[in-house]
């Protein structure tokens, strides 16, 4: 039974990695050989096809982590604590990439690495820093149910910032940061939207691959620690 479960997990991770291996070159091909230059921003707009999918993946990871945190608080199943922690960890990695890629785009488009007047930038930074602090909280508490509970509550509090961030941008009507997805549709042509969708799918499948691999690593770590304890007790 155990072997079958492990094999199924391996298959899922391998499948996700294979999907990523197919989607990522397709996305890069579309970005550099298919999609036309943007009329307004020119060649530098191609950063959009990596920057925005990375940002969306960050939000998806934080939301997935928060959902598992809620499930943990509801059921008390300790495995859900790990399923909440790993997406938070990956979310911070993708969040760092969002900030770095966004800064490059800002430099080439606005002439500055960061613009403090942009609501979208600032709210993203707040969410990012909030989830960076998640690790400080988590590792300042002894491992166990109390740590899992605190982490889950913190993860849940943070996810409320995501819709607030999206709403704040709409309310502020930020003129500098471009808003592509509006309530009346998508503000780009068909080829750009197709390229964006493929890039988003590639980034999401990369995140899923990383999530599955990291989860396996954590599980192996736990099993190994368990075996070491047993071996030391028996010795």
């Amino acid at each position: 039974m155990r072997d079958r479960t492990t094999a199924a997990r391996l298959d899922r991770a391998t499948c996700a990695a294979l999907v990523t291996a197919v989607l990522m070159p397709v996305a890069l091909g579309l970005i550099f050989f298919y999609v036309p230059n943007d009329a307004d921003q020119g060649f530098s707009q191609r950063i959009f096809y990596f920057h925005v999918p990375i940002a969306m993946t960050t939000y998806a990871l934080f939301a997935w982590g928060a959902l598992n945190a809620a499930r943990y608080l509801w059921t008390g199943d300790l495995s859900l604590d790990l399923r909440s922690y790993v997406p938070m960890h990956l979310g911070v990695i993708f969040g760092t990439l969002t900030l770095v890629t966004g800064s490059f785009w800002a430099k080439v488009s606005w002439g500055t690495w960061w613009y403090w007047g942009s609501t979208e930038l600032n709210t993203f930074l707040i969410i990012f820093l909030f989830y960076c602090a998640y690790f400080m909280l988590r590792f300042s508490v002894e491992p166990g149910a109390r740590r899992s509970r605190y982490s889950a509550v913190y993860a849940l509090l943070g996810v409320g910032l995501i819709p607030l961030s999206v709403l704040a941008v709409r309310i502020a009507q930020d003129a500098l940061h471009p808003i592509v997805f509006r309530s009346n549709g998508v503000n780009m042509d068909g080829s750009m939207f197709l390229t964006f969708c493929v890039a988003l799918a590639a980034m999401l499948s990369l995140a899923v691959s990383m999530y599955l691999v990291e989860m396996r690593g954590k599980r192996v770590d736990e099993r190994l620690a368990q075996l070491r304890r047993l071996a030391q007790e028996a010795a």
Partner: protein, 53 residues
């Protein structure tokens, strides 16, 4: 005519994304190395124990 600074920025963004992915693989590899060492240690404990028995 493509702006050179735009090309550099786009290359930097895509380069950073790939470097980050590679760094992740390197970190995973280091972690696998640690797990391998712990397995060796565990095997050593069990071997010593079977030798005593």
């Amino acid at each position: 005519m493509i702006d050179e600074s735009a090309v550099r920025s786009v290359a930097a963004v895509y380069g950073i994304a790939w470097v980050a992915t590679l760094a992740y693989v390197v970190i995973l590899n280091a972690k696998l190395g640690r797990i391998e060492r712990q397995l060796d240690e565990l095997a050593g404990i069990l071997e010593a124990r079977s030798g005593d028995g």
